[in-house]
């Protein structure tokens, strides 16, 4: 047994209200849901928390619905549920494409959209999609709710504006105008952590987001601005170099990522022409 479960404590709220009250009383509780990140961390001893709050049973946080032009996805919605959703596939096909490439079926059946956001990895596969779509993260605490634009949600490496007494309850995706594009580059198609990924929308304006090229997901606004204004691909590539700061790690070198980021930009532009 890799970790001693007996040393861990678990709170099991029966409702969101109860969960928020527990967190207000004890913000040190670490939220867990599908456990695809938490249990890997426990296995390797990289999760320091010992006291958890189990959100998996809170069905009110599941489901995908349209609120007029806004698509609202509950935080506990799994990747498998997103992949099966006709509504999501009509409105944000790039989110379906990203979800399909996360882990394998076993991970897609357990991993949640809210968990991908909360885990705050720079390699989180849905995060460039949410950035490119201009999503809002809905947070709730015992005292109220707020919606944070995706681009101001993260404040640094694995850091966000979420307070310890707040939970991510939903993601709101506005209407996305234009052609959507997604590509993940990894060592194999399934079960691979991204070396780099890019989500983009080509409409009246262009939106481009990259993952795994900086401490947080990057919304490449200057690069997109060049293309929106009718600038050349060469100018866009130059802008891109100043917007990303990839590092060398176990999966890739920074230079490889720079090159591939530029290649993806070109591929996106040609394929959505």
């Amino acid at each position: 047994v890799p970790f001693a479960a007996d040393a861990l404590a678990l709170e099991r709220p029966r409702s969101l209200e109860q969960a928020l009250a527990m967190l207000a009383a004890d913000p040190a509780l670490a939220p867990m849901a599908g456990c695809t990140d938490v249990y890997v961390g426990l296995h390797f001893g990289t999760v320091p928390q010992r006291r958890f709050i189990d959100l998996w049973g809170l069905d009110e946080l599941r489901g995908i619905r349209a609120d007029g032009e806004v698509l609202r996805i509950g935080a506990l919605t799994t990747y498998a549920e997103i992949i099966r959703s006709k509504l999501a596939s009509k409105r944000v096909p790039m989110l379906i494409a990203a979800s399909r490439e996360i882990g394998g079926a076993q991970i897609q059946n357990r991993g949640t959209l809210g968990g991908n956001i909360a885990n705050a990895s720079p390699a989180g596969d849905t995060l460039p999609v949410l950035a490119a779509a201009g999503a809002r993260i809905v947070l709730r605490s015992h005292t109220g709710a707020r919606a944070v634009p995706f681009e101001s949600f993260y404040t640094g490496y694995r850091a966000s504006v979420r307070r310890p007494d707040e939970l991510i309850v939903a993601v709101e995706i506005p209407r996305v105008d234009g052609r959507q594009w997604w590509r993940k580059v990894g060592t194999r198609r399934a079960q691979a952590i991204s070396k780099i990924m890019m989500a983009a929308v080509r409409g009246e304006t262009v939106r481009i987001a990259y993952g795994s090229v900086a401490p947080t997901v990057v919304l490449a606004t200057r690069t997109a601005g060049v293309l929106s204004a009718g600038g050349s691909l060469a100018d866009a590539r130059r802008a891109l170099r100043s917007e990303i700061a990839p590092i060398d790690d176990v999966r890739s070198t920074g230079e490889y990522r720079r090159q591939v980021a530029a290649n993806l930009l070109e591929q996106f532009w040609h394929e959505t022409d």
């Binding site: 479960a5 861990l8 456990c35 249990y39 189990d54 076993q106 357990r110 198609r189 079960q191």
Partner: protein
């Protein structure tokens, strides 16, 4: 905790955060479920919870409470499971055997006559280090075609 495993209700005295994998192996004595990587990468520990494949090494046991868990011991008691098991034998889909229970359980929810693409997608989360995948895909394909157990002459 009350767990329904392979159609039988069991009461186990275990911490709610104990890995489902360990509860199955240690508390239920069902050692057919294997541990490979322990981090949700290899799929060796795949079981079905309410018919859905999950990696039991990253599922807290308490998440299986009130659900129907099927392990390899239960799967091979069903018709599809037996067909898969026989096909793995016939087509050389198993060598060391560590990945086999997970492969069979990941394939179990596939519809009859599933395409090679569907099979590859269903097994994308299961790693094999011995046979390579073609023999496994052949086994699953043949089981889902209902040809399981028929000897293949080469």
């Amino acid at each position: 905790m009350k767990l329904n495993v392979n159609g039988k209700t069991r009461t186990v005295k275990a911490h709610p955060m104990k890995r489902l994998l360990d509860v199955l192996r240690e508390d239920c004595g069902l050692t057919g479920t294997k541990e490979g990587c322990g981090e949700g990468e290899c799929g060796a520990c795949t079981v079905l919870i309410d018919g859905v494949p999950v990696d039991s090494c990253i599922v807290p046991a308490v998440h299986a409470e009130g659900c129907k868990v099927i392990t390899i011991e239960g799967a091979t008691a069903t018709r599809t499971g037996r067909a898969l098991q026989n096909a793995f034998v016939t087509h050389g889909g198993a060598q060391c055997g560590i990945c086999t229970p997970g492969m069979i359980l990941a394939a179990a929810p596939l519809p009859p006559g599933a395409s090679l693409d569907q099979i590859k997608t269903a097994l994308a989360g299961n790693l094999c280090r011995c046979t390579g995948y073609p023999a496994i895909f052949r086994s699953v394909r043949s089981a889902l075609k209902g040809k399981a157990g028929r000897a293949v002459r080469r």
